[in-house]
């Protein structure tokens, strides 16, 4: 087991290096530079700016210099926010985004998981159709629509909850978490329903039932493990996607998170910021994918043998 994790962590190094390399050169090929603005920039000024950011050096040399800085944990100064380093910006944005992502994931797993499992227990009955139809609406409802709808209902009509902010007023974390979590809840519901149905028809469940175990014990002891497998495989990438995808929610609710930086960095051609956030996110993605693989193996003993091989 530990050997498996160690080897996967080792594999992560070339993965992240590849991501950095590809991203570094991709952003430089993209048209438009960080200093382009609506008003033409005086050439001398542009040259001075490029010198301040090392952009006047040959590209490959810049790449090596970047790797050198990165090895020391330095992500460099931001182009868009000149007085700030990328490290500082990520540190400023991360807490809100991580918290939002965590709550959203909890919403997804609690609501979606319960709905999916309930639906799978009595397929093709009202207990199946109602939660699944709600899940479907959740999937059709993009965050840019659900967010404003929730705000209009709870924030403006009922005046129960604040319309924006994060940790500034009591209750302001609720709507963003629900908005971001809803789409994932719908996924989790569908995946867990399918997974459960798959498992419930398996022989070992029939055996368990035949042995006279109460139904709820059959479900919790035996079926859930296998039935939630697809959900677990989905969660790793989902959490990473949640972080990157929180942009819309952060914008709607004015949340000071990383998602806004991540997306705007691309629009601004803020080279260091794009790279910094990408390095950071790719590390997270690799880690979460690993975590979900480990969790999947833990839930499914038959896979454990594979740890030896990897």
């Amino acid at each position: 087991m530990w050997k498996f994790i160690a080897s996967r962590l080792l594999q992560a190094v070339p993965v992240i290096l590849a991501v950095i390399t590809v991203t570094f050169f991709l952003v430089r090929i993209a048209p438009g530079g960080p200093f382009d603005s609506e008003k033409a920039v005086i050439p001398e000024v542009k040259a001075a700016l490029e010198a301040q950011y090392r952009l006047d050096q040959p590209l490959f040399q810049q790449y090596l210099a970047y790797l050198g800085d990165l090895a020391q944990g330095e992500l460099g100064p931001s182009f868009k926010y000149p007085g700030r380093s990328v490290n500082e910006l990520i540190a400023a944005g991360l807490p809100a985004t991580a918290e939002l992502g965590l709550y959203a994931l909890l919403v997804a797993v609690c609501i979606g998981g319960v709905a999916g499992v309930l639906a799978s227990l009595k397929p093709n009955t009202a207990q199946d159709y109602i939660p699944m139809s709600l899940a479907m609406i959740g999937i059709c409802m993009p965050t840019f629509l659900l967010g404003p709808l929730l705000v209009l209902l709870f924030g403006i009509q009922l005046e129960w909850l604040p319309v924006s902010g994060w940790g500034e007023m009591p209750g302001d974390k609720l709507l963003p978490s629900l908005t971001l979590g809803a789409a994932y809840a719908a996924y989790v519901a569908r995946l867990s329903r399918a997974g459960m149905l798959e498992v419930l028809s398996q022989d070992y469940i029939r055996t368990a039932r035949a042995k006279g175990l109460p139904e709820w014990q059959v479900i919790t002891r035996h079926a859930l493990r296998g039935g939630l497998m697809p959900v677990v495989t989905f969660l790793g990438p989902a959490f990473a996607g949640l972080l990157a995808g929180s942009f819309v929610v952060e914008t709607i609710f004015q949340i000071p998170g990383l998602g806004r930086f991540y997306v705007q960095a691309a629009f601004n051609r803020d080279y260091t910021m794009i790279l910094g956030t990408t390095v950071f996110l790719s590390t997270l993605i690799v880690l979460f994918n690993l975590a979900s693989d480990v969790l999947a193996a833990w839930l499914n003993p038959r896979l454990r043998s594979q740890f030896g091989e990897a």
Binding site: P31, G32, V41, I42, A48, K80, C110
Partner: protein, 548 residues
């Protein structure tokens, strides 16, 4: 699993809902009580160094915290005494002598002296600084040469401190709008001591603008800067005109999403919004005691034409395109009567200057011109592509124009929206047929619009080049004896420009905001300029803005 969920999730959620229901005091009523203005500021500012930043949100913050030699009166837009108490011009109007405020102080109590301005202008113009707005100081003698590295010695700049409180500025030629430039932030004084304490004068990356480090000379001073959350300033007790300042502080919010911003306003979280969603205009206008304020804005929305590419190299085609646009209808239906049709590049009423109007919506003449150019009824039309940067309002205009051209001229035009930086690249490389463009004046003078189309103008981007035009703008206008003659020359130049039609003017911008009825002393003006010094709060309770 269940206890875990219960403990970490359900309990806080339930608490949040319960607490959330007992609605707290809104920002607006709390602000009214404490004299704090809650101000929607559009986006997170790049920074607070006046020689580094470039945007509108930054300018609002910097105007609140710093002060140039002059400061615009928000009602008249005329320059008023700022850091300078008075000024006088020499006979040939090339030398201006400023007497600084005897009580002018930085927010730590140190005096603001003429030396601060000399040092700051040298910094603003230093090529190593990479100041994108250094050209605002170009009228100063030798400024352009120094800023472009042709002259190394900053001593030769036309700015000198005669004593601690007397500043002498020498211009390379008389510049009627120079006083207006002095309240642009690139001409502001920055605190030398603090900057040097944190690094080199020209280093962009230092921490001198952080709360606790920064000192400023304006009506307010920085107290808190929470990234992407809020920036708070408080009244600066050392400000020379502190008696005039009514607010105890301002909180700036980076309200990026204008739909969210409008909702914040509706539940009394903001006193003033940066913008208003266009489609909400009819509803807000219909409200009794509407918080909606609108005003013409010193800017023009237009389409750039690449005059090198056929069929647009034919002036008749360009004119036909322009004549076929029903601007009044566009302004009415797509823009909800917010904007006014534009017939030329300079906005009307710029310091009393009225631009020429050479044409109107003339579908018959447009068809005739197109036929003359060889495309009767659109026959044989090769088509062209119209690019615009990704934005809802640009899309609306483009879709409407596409159809007008089809209906009136019978021609097909394809649309292409481009991501912002791609669009900028296409425009500056002239890699387009027709491109959406807007220009907002840095100062109130026709020159700011007309010098765009100089043959070698960096913002020309159309291929339009006319030596006579250049001569009128560069030589004849600056030497004009009075404003009337100067404007006559501008009118002549602009007439020539619009005959050649390298651009299709569409409308004159308008600013739009939501303003809580408690807010006084914040008038609308042509520059959308906010002078925080004069704003006061006279509490009016509005429970909620019910949008019909």
């Amino acid at each position: 699993m269940l206890p875990f969920i219960y403990k970490f999730f359900l309990v806080p959620l339930t608490l949040l809902i319960l607490v959330g229901c007992s609605a707290g005091e809104s920002n607006v009523s709390q602000g009214n009580r404490e004299g704090i203005l809650h101000f929607g500021n559009g986006s997170e500012p790049q920074g607070l160094d006046p020689h580094v930043v470039t945007g509108v949100p930054e300018s609002k913050l910097i105007d609140a915290m710093y002060e140039g030699l002059t400061r615009k009166n928000p009602w008249t837009l005329e320059p008023e005494p700022g850091a300078a108490a008075s000024w006088s011009f020499s006979e040939d109007r090339r030398v201006i002598t400023f007497q600084l405020q005897p009580e002018g102080r930085w927010s730590n109590g140190d005096p603001v002296t003429a030396h601060d301005f000399v040092w700051s202008w040298r910094r603003a113009l230093n090529p190593a600084m990479g100041n994108l707005y250094s050209y605002m100081l170009y009228p100063v003698q030798n400024a352009e040469a120094y800023a472009t590295g042709k002259l190394q010695d900053p001593e030769q700049l036309g700015v000198k401190a005669l004593d601690d409180y007397t500043l002498e500025v020498t211009l390379s030629e008389p510049t009627p709008y120079f006083l207006q430039l002095l309240d642009h932030y690139s001409t502001f004084a920055v605190p030398r001591q603090v900057i040097e304490q944190f690094g080199e004068a020209t280093d962009r990356f230092t921490r001198w603008t952080r709360p606790g480090n920064i000192i400023t000379n304006g009506p307010f001073r920085l107290t808190e800067w929470k990234l992407n959350r809020r920036i708070e300033v408080e009244k600066n007790p050392y400000y020379w005109d502190a008696d005039m300042v009514q607010l105890n502080g301002v909180v700036f919010y980076p309200t990026e999403n204008l739909v969210s911003e409008e909702r914040m306003f509706r539940v009394n979280q903001l006193h003033y919004t940066n913008d208003v969603p266009l489609d909400k205009l009819p509803a807000y206008r219909a409200m009794p005691d509407s918080p909606f304020v609108e005003a013409p804005y010193l800017g023009t929305y237009f389409y750039l034409i690449n005059t090198a590419r056929p069929p647009l190299d034919d002036v008749r085609v360009r004119q036909a395109l322009s004549l076929a646009v029903d601007r009044a209808k566009l302004a009415r239906s797509v823009m909800h009567d917010l904007v006014t049709p534009a017939w030329s590049i300079t906005p009307p009423g710029t310091l009393g200057y009225e631009p020429p109007k050479l044409f109107d919506y003339e579908p018959e003449r447009a068809r005739a011109l197109l036929a003359e150019a060889g495309y009767p009824g659109g026959k044989g039309w090769p088509g062209f592509e119209l690019i615009y940067n990704t934005s809802e309002s640009h899309r609306k205009i483009a879709v409407a124009l596409q159809q007008m051209w089809k209906d009136v001229l019978g021609i097909e035009v394809s649309l292409s929206n481009q991501e912002w930086k791609v669009y900028l690249d296409s425009v500056s490389e002239m890699n387009f047929d027709v491109a959406r463009r807007g220009w907002v004046g840095d100062y109130v003078d026709p020159n700011n619009f007309l010098d765009l189309y100089l043959s070698d103008g960096g913002n020309n981007n159309t291929g339009f080049a006319d030596p006579d035009y250049d001569q009128m703008i560069l030589e004849r206008a600056p030497q004009a004896q009075d404003r009337e003659e100067r404007f006559r020359i501008f009118f002549e130049a602009e007439t020539r420009l619009m005959e050649e039609m390298p651009i299709i003017p569409i409308y004159t911008y308008a600013s739009k905001h939501l303003k809580h009825p408690s807010v006084k002393g914040l008038p609308s003006n042509l520059m959308d300029f906010v002078n925080f010094k004069y704003i006061r709060l006279e509490p009016v309770e509005v429970q909620e803005f019910e949008v019909p």
